[in-house]
């Protein structure tokens, strides 16, 4: 169920990218100077960051962290 909801969430965000309703509109100018089509996609970029934050929190592949090995700070074979 969780997997399905994540898929739906991603699909909805993708659907938001296809903003056909803004295709021929220039206004309103957001903040007085940004055409709506540009402001919308700037907002979409922020939405993508939010989507990724959600995915990191709810769908992070924790099982992969088992492969994290401690790394040494010192390079014993380094050229000097």
């Amino acid at each position: 169920m969780k997997k399905f909801l994540i898929f739906v969430f991603i699909a909805l965000v993708y659907a938001a990218h296809q903003d056909f309703w803004n295709w021929k509109s220039s206004g309103p100018l957001v903040f007085g100077f940004l055409p709506i089509g540009l402001a919308y996609h700037a907002g979409f970029s922020v939405l993508c960051a939010i989507m990724m934050a959600v995915l990191v929190n709810v769908a992070w592949p924790k099982h992969l962290e088992a492969d994290e090995a401690p790394t040494t700070d010192k390079d014993p074979g380094a050229h000097s």
């Binding site: 990218h17 803004n22 007085g32 700037a42 960051a49 769908a59």
Partner: protein, 577 residues
Amino acid sequence: MIPVIVIFVYLAVIAFIGSIAYRRSKDNTEDFFLASRSIGSMVFFLSLFATNMTAFAILGSSGQSYRQGIGIYGMMASSSCFVIPLTIFFIGTRLWALGKKFGHQTQVSFFRDRWECNHIGTVIFALIAAMLIPYMIISIMGGGTVLNEISVNHETHDALIPYWLGCAVVAVVVTVNVFFGGMRGTVWVNIFQTILFLLFGLVAVGVISHALPLGFSDYMSKLAGDTKTSYLVTRERMPQQTFWSYSLIPLSSIMFPHMAMMCFSARKVSAFKRTVIAYPIAIMVIWLPCVFLGVLGFATLGRIPDPDGVLLSLLDKYSPVWLAGILGAGIISAVMGSDAHQVLAMSTMFTKDVFAHYGGKEKFGEHRAVHFARGFIVVVTVIAYLVALQLKEKQGIFEIAVRFAFSGFAAMAPVMVAALFWKRSTKWGALAATLFVAASLIGFGILQGSPAAPPVPAAASAKMLSTNLVAATAVSTNAPARPASTNAPAGKPAAAVAAATPKPKEDIIWKIGEGPDALKVLSRAANGDVRFLNGYMTVFPMVVGSALCMVLFSLLTKPPSKATVEKYFSVAAEPPR
């Protein structure tokens, strides 16, 4: 002269960084190619971003928005904001884990082991290498042209740095950086590059806004109010088919060998967390100001001979000369940053997938393998340099090859997805998909229209970059150089084309039916690009066809052994819980 000085200071810094990285290096391939898988979280983000971001993000984005308007952001930038972080999240993290656990350093070594194959891996290697080579050559061509044009004296029209010397400088600096520094040196340079990039757009907007006689809102209202220019603040001239099919192009990102290598190089998988969240914001920070300034450039400057120089024209008019110098350094760093990753990726692939795989490692040992890799870096750069000199006039062909490569890499994404997430996938499915992609590239290449003409001479544009130069570096954020919706015939200044507002002239190759309702299965757009099913980009049938080949031929053939499937699916493909 100031931009030249700034650039040479920048080149000296790069060489210095390479020498420091050399002191930290060890004589084994994992250290040379992947910096011992030790890249930390913040450095990982900055370097991964720089690997995928070139001069197009600054000059190309503003030039395209000057021609087509604000829609270019939605088509190129925000589609990348969506697709690239997702591919890094779902594919990059799994690649990292498999590399860490089984020691893979290239995509091909993973495919070979995952599907228990040998020569099929070599076929995949050959396709990837063939798609990467024009990218490397055009980087040197672009770098040589930048240095040549940036050194032009605007009064005498003489260039201080000839093209051959510009190419040589770029080739030598890249070689020194990669030869000595390997992945560590390349990554350290990327940090500098990304910071420069991220700051540029914001600084340019701030400086220009203070110098303009009117406010931003006045210019935008003026454009929107005029029916001849309203397309710049809408997407009324942008075909929805192009807009949609473009969202498949960023799938190429994770299939670039240098991007995959970056994923292998992270110290911890948690480094991906910050990267995938910050990635869309970083794209916005670079693209939004540049796209806005491109449109603003039309409103303030009117028609200019070289739209890709619109940002430079604005800076020329409204900002001090030092900012243009920093921009020049940013462009050259973008060219060389990408080139360094490509050279390193090619060297890694040849060393691991050919030299080591076919017995070189057993025969000569790990220590010699690093020497082989370094030797290969020199050889491949010298060859790329010679080709860049000999085929300068054929630059248009390389541009088209790079654009095709983006579709090709995107169409290879189903192969990677199947390898990571589908137990039943087989080597024959991978081979069928690879051959389909190769055949598609050849087929669409034959159908492609005439290549673009060589760059506009510097004196003609009175600006340091020409349209084709930006196209030459248009390999960032998965951006083909000339979107079809431009409808700009290759070789003609786009502003001149826009001024004439020509109607798109299509050459229909294959259609079903007659009249306005006919289905145009294959057509050739005015810019020579092939279109599929009433206007979709060729990446669409390539991705779908590759996925179908993968599925169909996998189901028809014997899967890998149970032991191999368990080996990989106990670590990589556990679904999100």
